[in-house]
């Protein structure tokens, strides 16, 4: 590990585990908001991992989010599965949902994006029609997170710490993949998939792995959300917001960077909830649309790329 990398992790850990709890402890409103923001941030990291390493822009992450939430809720309610295990299994279920979507890997850019969008709609409609998922009425009184020793995960502070840990783990996993030989192959595919295949990289298999990993992380965040909110219904669990917000966050923060997606999502979500919503009670997401459009036109590499960083900037590709 380079010194800068250790410093980045240490600083993030200090802010997440010491500074924020110290400032926000006791303020349930802020902590609740942070949990929601971190949920989006986790999906944002997962989306960016697929977009940056896999080269696949998805418009259907709501599918994985909803699958994770429903699987975890059902397992803990009907099969008596302990909640922490259900969280992981929610991710597994979402990955299984990703496996079903694997044939879409044959499709090129926009077609892939819209096939996944259709997939998320199919799931929403199917779940509304199934008996054991509670149908359109949804699931009520989903078990809360348990207490671990003296830390009650169901308390606002406990939930916050769990959510922050999950986002950090997702980021660290993304970093690890990125720096591995697989990451190297994936990045090479970004420049020329044909050339990468020609030197013997199984590009489709790598992209499939990225899709499954991204779906897993998204599913875990969906599962966390289900146990925090305690209630699920198909239009909520598969809402387009679970696709829109992570995309805006990742694009704003720079989806080719390591910390950009999570940071972008946190800033975007908090600004939306605290500022835009207060200014524009109806249609506050308009601002998000403007931000997304502006970033794509002006700074496709993310807002941070607008800050001049001297000659070192040149040649820095993706996560440095």
């Amino acid at each position: 590990m380079t010194r800068a990398r250790i410093a980045a992790y240490a600083a993030t850990g200090a802010v997440a585990y010491a500074l924020v709890p110290a400032l926000a402890a006791g303020n349930d409103f802020v902590l609740g908001l942070l949990v929601a923001a971190l949920t989006i941030a986790g999906v944002s990291v997962a989306w960016a991992m697929l977009a940056n390493l896999g080269g696949l822009v998805s418009f259907g992450h709501a599918a994985f989010f909803g699958l994770g939430g429903y699987a975890s809720a059902l397992l803990s309610m009907k099969a008596g599965c302990p909640v922490p295990a259900a969280l992981v299994l929610g991710g597994v279920a979402a990955a299984a949902g990703g496996a079903v979507a694997l044939p879409a890997l044959r499709l090129r850019g926009p077609y892939f994006a819209l096939a996944l969008l259709a997939y998320s709609q199919v799931l929403r409609i199917a779940v509304s029609d199934l008996r054991f998922t509670g149908g359109a009425a949804g699931l009520l009184s989903i078990p809360r997170l348990p207490a671990w020793g003296r830390l009650d995960l169901a308390s606002r502070l406990g939930t916050y710490l769990l959510a922050a840990t999950l986002v950090l783990l997702a980021t660290a996993a993304y970093d690890a993949v990125h720096r591995s030989t697989y990451g190297l192959a994936l990045r090479a595919m970004h420049d020329s998939e044909l050339a990468t295949r020609a030197v013997g990289v199984a590009s489709t298999r790598l992209k499939a792995a990225m899709l499954l990993a991204s779906a897993f992380v998204t599913g875990v965040m969906g599962a966390l959300n289900a146990h925090v909110i305690g209630f699920l219904e198909p239009p909520y669990a598969f809402s387009g917001d679970w696709t829109l917000l992570p995309i805006v966050g990742a694009i704003l923060g720079g989806y080719r960077t390591l910390w950009g997606p999570a940071l972008g999502a946190l800033v975007m979500f908090l600004a939306d909830q605290l500022l835009f919503k207060a200014l524009l009670p109806y249609g506050h997401q308009l601002v998000l649309g403007v931000l997304l459009g502006a970033v794509i036109l002006v700074a496709p590499e993310g807002v941070a790329s607008l800050v001049p960083r001297g000659p070192r900037r040149r040649g820095r590709h993706a996560v440095a």
Binding site: V122, I247, L280, G283
Partner: protein, 291 residues
């Protein structure tokens, strides 16, 4: 039997509205390979303009078409101006950019008109029209079905017979070769966007005249339009008509004989099957979607 006949007849009327919705999207997609994810929102905005005209000025929806055609075409040109500014990978960036436009339009509509459900109060358009003794419909549906068919034929002829229509097809098939033949690709693309906007204006008015609208349905319209375009394959007006008819009739049959709650599933399943089994669409010549 009467149920089947009614299902087929309703399907046909719905097909016209789907074709109208898909025509504009298909035009831009065919010309620029850009999927305008804000297309449904443009249609929805036209519907709200018709609603505004009716509610505040007392203009019947049909007469608001000339005004909204210009307004929506101008807005569509604005979206083109934005898409045109994209540097780098246009295929995916334009998707995200028009997605942003869609979010802006949906929320703008929500801001101005709030979330209420609206539908026309025009008694003439909503009057029942019965053919034979068992085929029920509204006068507005039949009217816009005819108008949709007329516009589809007009677009088809325009693409085949006029210079600008041929220029669009030339740019669609080979942008560089078209440029060498003295065609200005940017201008042709702008024309296709403006025309798509004009078609969206008619589609939106039809939507308002025959159904109820809320600010949240723009997304569904875009998806429905894209499904029809993918089913049809690129660059085929006739294909769009057939694709729209297939999906609409499949939907009304599902509603009549299976369950109304499964209706939204039909288009999605058709879409996924076509994408995965025959990405060039039923009528498209080339394999477009796969690598």
């Amino acid at each position: 039997m009467a149920l089947l006949a009614q299902a087929l007849y309703s399907g046909l009327l719905v097909a016209a509205s789907y074709a109208l919705v898909a025509l504009g999207l298909g035009l831009v997609f065919g010309t620029m390979r850009v999927i305008n994810l804000a297309h449904g929102e443009l249609i929805l905005l036209a519907a709200y303009l018709a609603c505004l005209g009716e509610a505040t000025l007392g203009i019947p929806p049909l007469l608001s078409i000339p005004l909204s055609v210009f307004a929506i075409a101008a807005l569509s040109l604005g979206i083109y101006a934005l898409v045109d500014r994209i540097r780098g990978d246009r295929e995916v960036s334009s998707l995200l950019l028009t997605f942003a436009c869609a979010v802006i339009l949906t929320n703008g509509i929500l801001m101005i008109w709030r979330g209420d459900v609206r539908s026309t109060g025009d008694g003439w358009l909503t009057a029942p029209l019965v053919f034979g003794d068992s085929l029920f419909s509204m006068r507005g549906e039949v009217l816009f079905c005819g108008l949709g068919a007329l516009l589809a034929v007009a677009v088809h002829l325009w693409l085949r017979r006029t210079w600008s229509g041929r220029a669009i097809r030339a740019v669609a098939s080979n942008r560089d070769a078209a440029r060498l033949m003295g065609i200005h690709p940017g201008r042709v693309e702008a024309i296709s966007f403006a025309l798509a906007g004009a078609l969206a204006a008619v589609a939106g008015t039809a939507l308002y005249a025959t159904r109820s609208i809320t600010p949240f349905i723009g997304h569904d319209l875009t998806i429905k339009a894209f499904v029809v375009v993918v089913l049809a394959g690129i660059g085929s007006v006739g294909g769009i008509a057939v694709g729209a008819a297939l999906i609409a009739v499949a939907e009304t049959l599902t509603v009549s004989f299976l369950s109304p709650s499964l209706q939204p599933l039909v288009a999605m399943l058709v879409f996924l099957c076509v994408l995965l089994l025959r990405p060039a669409g039923l009528f498209g010549a080339r394999r477009e979607g796969t690598r």
